[in-house]
Amino acid sequence: MPDPDQTLNCQGLNCPMPIVKIAKTIKKMESGQTLEVTATDPAFQADLNAWSKKTRNPIVEFSAEDVLRALIQKA
């Protein structure tokens, strides 16, 4: 699995900050690049799914171990 182009640590941040930060970071990225986000917000998975659907940036991977981890690609 190639390394993500950027990483974003949203651990300790709760709604709405994780998706706000993701939106801001993705805006500055190139199409096709990937962003890895880690978070502890319990609402993160639901919010990220809604955000991904609305903004049409796909979630490539999602895992929930000690922290929630998502790999998003800019469309």
């Binding site: 941040l13 709760n14 709405p16 706000v20 939106a23 801001k24 917000d41 919010d47 955000w51």
Partner: protein, 209 residues
């Protein structure tokens, strides 16, 4: 001598006629088929564009000056921007407190000064809508928010400014609440009810908080 008979219209050989019809049908279908599918394509794309442009707007009337309600308003506004939507917030009456950076008394009438005195000085000092307990309530809620890693109200307002949420102050209620432009944030716009209704009628999400 009788006139020569007009030649009767020759009848097509039925087989020939059928063949011609077949060919014409086929040619028409080929030509129109292409046009029809492109037309359908164009219409569905147009519909998408129309829906997308309306769906992208959120308009929020911020009428309340309560701590809890203002937090909800700003969380929704910031979240909406993160989802790629355009957000306008209309601050009126008690909601104007969220936009205050300082309180000034100079140049106000007695009534205006009294109202200013009784109002919170800014978003950092607003009370909760319930369980306020003379100000102890908000202190507890702020502590709980900190424990739950929720941003403070002044921080949420900063985030909204940073995300370029359109913040519009209602001119009419400013006069009624004894608030002057100099007391409010510099980055806001001013408007009236028509400004709000124009935005709201184009928005998919309209809220009154």
């Amino acid at each position: 001598m009788s006139r020569p008979a007009i030649d009767p219209i020759p009848e097509f050989d039925p087989k020939l006629e059928a063949l011609v019809e077949q060919i014409v049908d086929r040619k028409l279908a080929e030509a129109l088929g292409d046009v029809n599918s492109r037309l359908e394509d164009a219409f569905s794309r147009l519909k998408e564009v129309e829906e997308a442009s309306i769906a992208q707007r959120v308009t929020i009337v911020v009428f309340s000056g309560d701590f809890d309600r203002l937090i909800a308003a700003f969380i929704i506004a910031n979240g909406a921007v993160a989802m790629g939507m355009d957000v306008s917030m209309y601050f009126t009456f008690w909601g104007l407190t969220a936009l205050k950076k300082e309180t000034k008394y100079a140049g106000k009438s007695i009534a205006e000064k009294m109202v200013s005195l009784m109002m919170p000085t800014g978003p950092g000092a607003v009370g909760t809508s319930r369980l306020n307990f003379l100000g102890v309530g908000p202190a507890f809620f702020k502590m709980l928010m900190d424990q739950n890693h929720v941003e403070t109200l002044p921080d949420l307002i900063e985030v909204a400014k940073d995300l370029e949420v359109k913040m519009i102050a209602c001119q009419m209620s400013m006069g009624v609440m004894g608030i002057k432009k100099e007391e409010l944030l510099d980055e806001i716009e001013y408007g009236g009810v028509a400004t709000y209704l124009g935005d709201a009628s184009d928005s998919r999400v309209t809220l009154f908080i």
